[in-house]
């Protein structure tokens, strides 16, 4: 499997001495060919290659086939299968409690764009440190194939029902609301998704990735705009994405004329070779405009639409003590007798 442009052979263990097996999960119970399974594979690869300690990772999810996926990768990480549409709040609470955790939230298009849209927008707004993945198939897989709110106008269900409502573009929303790393990919685009996930690990703040992930059982037919075939025909990558982690040497120079290099929070580099002349992933307004144009033209744009490595994340804004709140001893969290006496005196 190709990882970096230099194609160094994948070592048997990663930089923290773990083999890839340590990143595996339980055996999947999702349908064979379901896009969600491919995403799980990419997550395993990315976490392994980035040398993330599985014990630091939490995998909150909502409800849906997609939200079941955390059972199928990284068993050494804690998971929390929450209630439908409410993964963001559980993730937020956990990150407040322990700021050292690395949150990888998994949701579906139904879970996020319908029942969970309220929590979704507020999580984006807070720029919580989290990798928020929408495994987007345009339908409710787990409840057997109803349209979701990301289904495209005019797309057709297996039953012949045509969707006559416009889709919610979760990437546009995320960019507008304050997420600081926003992209779209495709479960079948191994190389792009892999680089994007690794960059996501290096980012500080909310990473929102909408990953088109075909549902082979309910939405992979002619007339669907979230099928493998439709994606193969319509995927329009904005950039060629290369990610160079901080712990890897850079062997290849890049051409500043054609490539934008973004230095990530941890010093890693994200290299975006422009496939479109004037696209600039640090320009919010441009990103939203380009996405709107894409919709008008019927393209499925993929790539890193927006990245901002400077904005403070939610946890930083709260001015919390450096040690996780969960670890604070009684002597720190229970004020002394003199404090109670002082307060009582004030109330006399």
């Amino acid at each position: 499997m190709a990882t970096t442009p230099t194609s160094t052979p994948v070592p048997k263990t990663n930089r923290i001495g773990l083999s890839i097996a340590e990143y595996k999960g339980g055996k999947t119970t999702l349908c064979a060919g379901c896009g969600h399974n491919a995403i799980s594979e990419r997550i395993i690869d990315a976490m392994y290659e980035m040398g993330v300690s599985p014990e630091r990772v939490i995998k909150p999810s909502g409800i849906g086939c997609s939200s079941k996926a955390p059972a199928y990768f990284m068993s050494r990480s804690h998971s929390f299968n929450a209630v439908h549409g409410r993964m963001p709040s559980v993730a937020t609470g956990a990150m407040l409690a322990n700021r050292n955790l690395i949150a990888l939230g998994v949701s579906g298009d139904g879970d996020t764009a319908s029942i969970g849209i309220g929590q979704f927008v507020h999580l984006m707004r807070r720029n919580l440190p989290i990798i928020y993945i929408i495994e987007d198939n345009g339908v409710y897989g787990l409840t057997k194939g109803q349209f979701s709110a990301t289904a495209d106008l005019g797309s057709k269900l297996k039953t012949g029902v045509i969707n006559d409502l416009p889709p919610i573009d979760t990437c546009v929303l995320a960019i507008q609301l304050g997420a600081t790393f926003v992209g779209r990919s495709f479960s079948g685009d191994k190389r792009q998704l892999h680089s994007m996930l690794k960059a996501a690990v290096a980012h500080n703040g909310t990473v929102m990735l909408d990953i088109v992930s075909p549902c082979v059982t309910f939405n992979d037919h002619e007339g669907s705009t979230k099928s493998y075939k439709y994606m193969k025909d319509h995927e329009e990558p904005l950039q060629d994405i290369n990610f160079v982690p901080v712990f890897e040497e850079i062997n290849v120079e890049y051409d500043p004329g054609t490539t934008v290099e973004v230095t990530m929070h941890d010093g890693s580099r994200l290299r975006l070779r422009k496939l479109e002349e004037d696209y600039d992933a640090t320009d919010k307004i441009l990103a939203v405009k380009r996405l709107a144009e894409g919709h008008a033209k019927g393209e499925v744009l993929t790539g890193v639409f927006y990245v901002n490595t400077q904005a403070p994340n939610f946890i930083e804004m709260l001015n919390m003590t450096d040690n996780p709140l969960t670890t604070l001893p009684e002597s720190v969290v229970r004020p002394g007798r003199e404090v109670l006496e002082q307060v009582m005196e004030e109330l006399r």
């Binding site: 299968n81 929450a82 609470g93 507020h122 709260l318 604070l328």
Partner: protein, 612 residues
């Protein structure tokens, strides 16, 4: 709206009655947002500082400014601090309600009013005093726009003079109220003095009411239940608070923010807590659960509408077994019902909150002291039993001013329940999250971030086996449900015990809980003194019911369960618990007027039901 319903009596009799010392209720009728809160607090504090037991209750509308509001102060030498049904001394400041307020007074009561209202003509069986507030306020308050506020201080001075409240105490109360704002304190003091002087020069005392110094408040504090709860949570070591504003719970978190900023900033200048205003109650409880799962002491505070939104998550927390503390400051009804009126209407829905089989632990404070101590109990129990714990306060307790003994410093160390560390896991080699190792139904948990390859488990709802693996096997499900039941049964002997007052001979038992307590204390004395009816009393402090609750029902022929809801909610829970043949012993006395419970109503009802 009148807050009492006593008919007008023609035969008022002589107004030269016997002196009534340290036993009266004062009601101030004002307009919401007119700043009368400070005046009322000063009046309350002044009486308190005179050593006389007091309580203050604000009856306010769901409105920011403009609608009528009443504040009732009860002073009582015997320490009765429940709402008193009858008003003895009315301060009629609101032109809109003054008429009705006066008409609803019992004969012999006092009405102090703004001169232009000319209320004197309404009745001839009351003691009237009038004060030309506008004339008095102008000289003490040159700034016209402040006059509306300062005007209210004038009645404090008038009342002080009429009731013999020491002006030195009034001044002390003002200085406290305006703490660092010396200018404001002086301005208000001048207004009080103007009222006092006016009364001294112009009003001839014709009513029997007097405040006389005594020593029943020495060392005590005045605090509202929400502030007490906030302090309790701070001293309980709470680290994560998430909330969504709703009356009457908002002040709990807002006060907590103030205290935490003062006392929970570490030496590094950084917070040892996180307080987040969530986008709604769904998110608030979700954050609490996320934080509790990750190992923080986390809480939220809300009222009925928020509780409804939290239902699904509460059930998940019950099954995933995550500690959480939820304060429900109960109020009346949904939506725009009577959001600013008190109630005990969420008992039944919270006991079983969520879908499927769910049973929750409820703690029920009756006082500011208990808001403080039960905050700590709540966190201890939530972590010990790994489950949501609901603290059932109410608007009366949460938002009104109560006398209290100084709070005891928590002596017991904080215990975090059955949590396995990295070292434990090294020793054990692994663990099964939902295995009942100790026979109490409580499993061992690990926290995310624990640096051991065997630490992780998959937190999910009901469909799991002992190892927290997904399972739809009937035996796994049944076993888990039975264990959860065992855990709930264990909780019976861990929750705060009921408080029993018994002479061992009475056939009549009263059961009550929360703020009804204060009316019951007084009502039992009324029953004894006026009707020679002896009663035993058991005050519930928690659900599930400890065993002595069942014993109390066994020992009494008739048990009156007093509560502030329509559907006898606690009685319904008790019916599920006691032996079937005892159910007929239980009788409901319910109050649903949205006002704090008074003793007289309870007494009347018990006497009626006793057929006396």
């Amino acid at each position: 709206m009148a807050t009492t319903d006593v008919a007008l009596h023609e035969d008022s009799g002589s107004l030269e009655r016997k002196r009534v010392v340290n036993d009266m209720s004062i009601q101030v009728g004002t307009v919401n947002g007119s700043g009368s809160q400070s005046s009322n607090t000063v009046l309350l504090r002044s009486i308190f500082q005179m050593g006389v037991p007091v309580s203050g209750k604000n009856l306010f509308p769901s409105n920011i400014a403009g609608l009528p509001t009443w504040y009732t102060i009860r002073a009582n030498k015997d320490g009765y601090i429940a709402r008193k049904k009858e008003i003895d001394f009315l301060v009629a400041m609101n032109p809109e309600t003054a008429r009705e307020d006066v008409m609803s007074l019992a004969a012999g009561a006092v009405a102090l009013y703004d001169e232009p209202l000319n209320l004197r003509t309404l009745r001839n069986d009351l003691v009237f005093y009038s004060v030309p507030y506008d004339k008095l306020v102008a000289p003490v308050c040159p700034e016209a726009k402040l006059r509306k506020l300062v005007k209210n201080m004038i009645y404090v001075g008038v009342v002080a003079k009429l009731l013999d409240i020491d002006m030195a105490e009034v001044e002390k109360a003002i200085r406290k109220q305006f703490a660092k704002k010396v200018k404001a304190a002086n301005l208000n003091l001048a207004a009080v003095q103007a009222g006092y002087d006016y009364a001294a020069a112009n009003l001839l005392k014709r009513d029997p009411y007097h405040i006389q110094r005594m020593d029943k408040t020495t060392g005590k504090i005045i605090i509202d239940g929400n502030s007490a709860a906030a302090l309790g949570c701070m001293f309980a070591g709470c680290t994560v608070v998430t909330w969504y504003p709703i009356t009457p719970s908002s002040s709990l978190v807002e006060t907590m923010i103030e205290y935490m900023k003062r006392f929970r900033i570490g030496p590094d200048g950084k917070a040892t807590f996180a307080i987040v205003q969530a986008e709604d109650e769904l998110a608030a409880i979700g954050m609490v659960i996320g934080a509790g799962w990750a190992g923080a002491r986390a809480m939220t505070a809300t009222a009925g509408p928020g509780i409804s939104l939290m239902a699904e998550f509460a059930g998940l927390a019950y099954y995933v077994e995550v500690p959480a503390v939820i304060w429900d400051i109960q109020r009346v009804g949904p939506s725009t019902g009577l959001p600013t009126r008190t109630s005990q209407g969420d008992i039944l829905s919270i006991a079983f909150l969520s879908h499927g089989d769910t049973k929750n632990i409820l703690l029920i404070p009756c006082s500011a002291e208990e808001c403080f101590t039960m905050a700590q109990d709540a966190f201890e129990l939530a972590e010990h039993f790994q489950t949501p714990v609901f603290v059932m306060s109410d608007l009366d307790l949460g938002m009104n001013n109560w006398m209290a003994d100084p709070f005891p410093y928590p002596e017991k160390p904080i215990k975090r329940g059955k949590v396995l560390s990295k070292e434990d896991l090294e020793r054990l080699g692994g663990f099964a999250r939902y295995k009942d190792v100790d026979g109490d139904g409580i499993g061992y948990r690990t926290l995310p971030g624990t640096d051991h390859p065997a630490a992780a488990y998959f937190a999910r709802g009901s469909g799991h086996n002992e190892r927290s693996q997904y399972s739809e096997r009937p035996d796994d499900f049944e076993k888990n449900m039975e264990r959860l039941n065992r855990k709930f049964e264990t909780a019976r002997s861990f929750v705060p015990r009921p408080v029993l007052i018994s002479n061992g001979k009475s056939k009549i038992g009263i059961i009550a809980y929360g703020t009804s307590h204060w009316a019951i204390l007084e009502s039992r004395d009324q029953l004894r003194k006026e009707y020679k009816v002896e009663t035993d009393y058991l005050r519930l402090r928690a659900y599930p019911f400890p065993r002595e609750v069942h014993g109390f029902v066994e020992q009494h022929e008739r048990v009156y369960l007093v509560e502030q809801n329509r559907d006898a909610q606690m009685l319904t829970l008790l019916k599920l618990d006691v032996r079937p043949e005892l159910v007929t012993r239980l009788h409901s006395i319910s109050h649903i007027h949205g006002l704090p419970l008074d003793a007289r109503s309870v007494t009347d009802e018990i006497i009626m039901m006793e057929g006396k």
